[in-house]
Amino acid sequence: MMLSVSSKYAMRSLLRHGRRTILSVVGIGVGCGLCLFMIGFIRGERKMMLRAASESGAGHFRVVPANWNETRENDLRLIDWHQARKLVESMDEVEVVTPHARKEVLLGFGTRVAGVEMVGVDRNTEQAANRLVRSVVDGHYLDGEKGTTVIGRTIATRLRVEVDDELMVTAAGADGEMAGAMLRIVGIVETGSRDLDATICQVNLQDVERITHLPGAGDLTALVKNPKKLKLTVKSLSEKLGTDYSVVTWEQLMPELASGVKVDETWTRLTVSIIMIVVFLGIASAQLTAVLERRREFAVLSAVGMKGSRLVQIMVYEGLVLGLAGAAVGLAVGVPSTYWVATKGIDFTKMYGTEGMSISNILIDPVFLGDFGWWLVPLAFVLALTATILSSLYPAWYAAKTDPAAALRVEH
């Protein structure tokens, strides 16, 4: 196909001022690369937060009694948790589902006591859904033996207990009467965060039923295979479960964490926008200079009959070429840096210390990893082309309204 003379004109006009064109392309590329890095980082952070939140016991979603979200009362129990669990497990999108029965209790050993939320679990599925209880450093995890518990290191330190010690557990029963039982410690968990270790007290589900006289599970906590489809999964499950149950997402369970992630995203968007505006103004300035330099040329073209729309087309074409080259440079800058942050990550231990970081009872890895993937390629082109084409519009409009008689009159 024959390249149009207009296209050749646009291309060669860019090449005529090689240094300016190169500087423009580098400017677009660096700006674009910086944006890719920031977007990659924030996408990774969001993924990491979601994974941390979901795998710290909250799950991607929970099935709870219909009115639980309003009261958040731990004594509420699911009507038929076995049936509900089967239904959740039957969904292809669900990776794992595990039941919980929660109860605020006092743990006592000798003269020392500690208040904690005791969680009754299914030992067969709990560790798959909750990474906090994967690191049992003393003893072992629950093995089904009646009257046993796994506690966090901070509780063990506070009560000065160790594996095989027996704790006295006291809780209010279903009828309001205080109930007590003895629990033998079979394992001690260390998550890396002392705060989190002060919250862990897990027992077999049947022990919670026995101590509280409240039968069944209070929630079903589930992880999904693809968190991007979470909303669809939740919607579909809600329809299947009916009105006796409610399905709440991690964002509803931990709104403060969700809003923290959103604030981060907003800042990133703002930063990306500022970078793009700077790039935009830089390109607009360079393009406008190019137009002013070619004012006479445009006047001649206009005199021989070129319409304003064709001039706009030529300027936008130049912007398009700059944008494509800028996107390529942006990828050259952005891909290695985004790959680095996705594989090596940014280590915040120097800032926050070696103590594990926890927010809202979730364990956060101190090394923040970015996201990396094919999405970088279209994003680079969208960012660079949007900036260059938009920034070409004003110079193009300025070129289009060149008055040929006035521009040519300068000569006389």
Partner: protein, 239 residues
């Protein structure tokens, strides 16, 4: 034999408003330009030569009076329509050649054809024009690889590529030496005689005046003299 009038100007005035003063470039100019005229407009600087060419070339509009170019009233035409008129019916040659510097001679000529909407055939048509004007050997050279005379001949090729009825040339020989000016004038004379293209020049150059068949002298935005070689037309003010 009756001749067709291509341009008819009646009491045309053009006033430029600058920040502080009003400049009257044309003051009630009345003139007809006939088909196949080979006409020079002469006069001192500031006499209104270029202004008149700009008006005839539909680059500008008159402040007052009526101006009809190729049967169309210029002042009643939109910017777009005037651009169309320039593209399809008029040709321009400028003093400073004004070829597009990043395009070759061939591409400069092709550009006008592309703007006209000529498709795949434009390469051959542009080459044909260059061939006919004896410029084939320069086809692939860019303006900076051509002499002033060669550039101006390519500019003429660009001007006539779209088969215009009228070519307007603003001081076309001002930057050329005697030999190149002669070559250019012979080329334009040939186009005038063999392709019936009407040429109107603004000029200070006596060589151009010597070739012109009609010479119109402007002074202070008015016609002072309108001379056909062999006879003198009465000035509109005298008639």
């Amino acid at each position: 034999m009756a001749t067709n009038v291509l341009v008819s100007a009646k009491d045309v005035t053009k006033t430029y408003q600058t920040a502080k003063i009003e400049v009257k470039a044309l003051r009630g100019l009345t003139l007809d330009i006939n088909e196949t005229d080979f006409m020079a407009i002469v006069g001192p600087s500031g006499s209104g030569k270029t202004t008149f060419l700009n008006l005839v070339g539909a680059l500008d509009t008159a402040t007052d009076g009526s101006l009809t170019v190729l049967g169309r009233d210029i002042s009643a035409m939109s910017k777009q329509k005037r651009a169309d008129l320039r593209l399809h019916r008029l040709g321009f040659v400028f003093q400073a050649y004004n070829l597009v510097p990043v395009l070759t001679a061939q591409e400069n000529v092709e550009f006008v054809l592309e703007l006209q909407g000529v498709g795949d055939n434009r390469f051959n048509r542009a080459r044909e024009v260059l061939d006919k004007l004896g410029l084939a050997e320069f086809a692939n050279r860019r303006p900076n690889e051509l002499s002033g005379g060669q550039q101006q001949r390519v500019a003429v090729a660009r001007a006539v590529a779209s088969n215009p009825k009228l070519v307007l040339a603003d001081e076309p020989t001002a930057n050329l030496d005697g030999e190149n000016a002669e070559v250019l004038l012979h080329m334009m004379q040939d186009l005038n005689e063999n392709r019936d293209i009407t040429f109107v020049f603004s000029t200070h150059d006596s060589r151009v005046v010597a070739h012109a068949r009609r010479v119109v002298t402007l002074v202070d935005g008015r016609i002072a003299r309108d001379e056909m070689k062999g006879r003198t037309n009465p000035s509109p003010r005298e008639s």
